[in-house]
Amino acid sequence: MGKYIALTGAESAAFAMKQINPDVVAAYPITPQTPVAMKFSEYVANGEVNTEYVTVESEHSAMSATVGAAAAGARAMTATASNGLALMWEIVYIASSMRLPILMAVVNRALSGPINIHGDHSDAMGARDSGWIQIFNENNQEVYDSFIMALRIAEHPDVLTPAMVCQDGFITSHSVENVMPLTNEQVQKFIGKKKFKGLITADKPFTMGPLDLQDYYFEHKKQQHEAMKKVFAVVEEVQNEYAKEFGRKYSVIEEYRTEDADTIIMGLNSVMGNVKTVVDSAREKGIKIGAVKPRFFRPFPVDYLRDLLPKFKAVVVLDRSDSFGAMPPLYSETLAALYGIENAPMIKGYIHGLGGRDTNLAMIETVVDNLQKLKDTGEGNLTFEYLGVRE
């Protein structure tokens, strides 16, 4: 094990990429992802990696070049945020349907407009049906560890599906924290040699990305569907190995002080840091509250939630994105997962932090109060609202 170094969230992603030493990286700068690509290009310029860095003219080209490289058999990566991810859209789907194990650092940022450069999850949530694995991360250490593990998950022969490693724009990406990286040798040993074959590395020539009409497309979608179902088995295996080798234990759903909790707050990424702080102070007042943080949104951990959530009486779900005219994504999918379960908890949703609005401790304390009312009286059950919006 190495020692602590000070890295921003963006630098944590770049540092993990450096230690993986991918064959090809193609990325285009966009705030707040820029420091990922910037830092990585520094490693390239300094000769610290053997990576071919492709300076593309847009995110559409970034993902296209990454797909091309991965199809050739390269370990290929990119990074983006917000409108950059939106501009990639077409190729994002092609990457997953061609079953290319690409890694992408996604620094979550609001989608324009009105134009906004700060953190929310509308970019990644928009891509939730694109067939990519989505890993959400609370802090810089998690970003780093997820990146190393994501490579193993994406490249697993049962999976062969690209993965986004998400972190919150600015809140995580531009904040410096102590991160304990592995050594280069540990990373290389853990990730191993790539096993997937591309057009150049395969033993004999084959065709990728051909026309796929009514008579075959359906079967290929079913294959993607089935590959996603196998992800969590692989995740468990990789997480266990990571814990055994390096002593850092991750789980599909992180639980914080849930053991005797009757209420919990659930959410993704950096807000869960504040939630844990508020849980601690509420615990001091004798409130039996905990926090639950899914680390994966795709695949969605349905079975895990069906096992876990009935232990609680009431649940609040925090979404950092809206689905206008519908229920927000984490809330609606949690509701769907709980349907028909005996002893399902009461549940309420909040849309918070859009466009990087700070979800501060006072706001979460309000949530705790309302959560206790929900538990005691059922008030607000099956509703969702904006948290802290000005009337």
């Binding site: 349907s97 061609m98 065709t207 990728m208 294959q223």
Partner: protein, 95 residues
């Protein structure tokens, strides 16, 4: 022209096609609405149909035109249109 297509468990992933020259195994003849029928007595073997056929479906035997490969002919009618002696008729396909 019947073929059993593989299911999702057996197909290569991602739409990959592992063998070269596989278009021969893909029977585009099923798409046809009009079928070219050649009167070989009228045919002068100029082979313009062979040159113009976009799907390589004109059958040549001993250097002479010998009708169409109906497994792959899509019935576009280019051969009938180009034929200088009108030896090819396009007949509605009986389904």
């Amino acid at each position: 022209m019947t073929e059993t297509k593989k299911g999702w468990k057996d197909l290569p992933i991602g739409g990959n096609i592992l063998e070269a020259g596989n278009s021969q195994h893909y029977f585009t003849g099923t798409w046809r609405t009009y079928k070219p029928i050649t009167d070989l007595d009228k045919c002068i073997n100029c082979l313009q149909c062979w040159m113009f056929c976009p799907d390589n479906s004109i059958v040549i035997k001993d250097g002479k035109m010998d009708g169409q490969d109906y497994d792959h002919c899509k019935g576009c009618g280019v051969c009938a249109a180009i034929c200088p002696v009108k030896a090819i008729d396009m007949i509605k396909e009986e389904k």
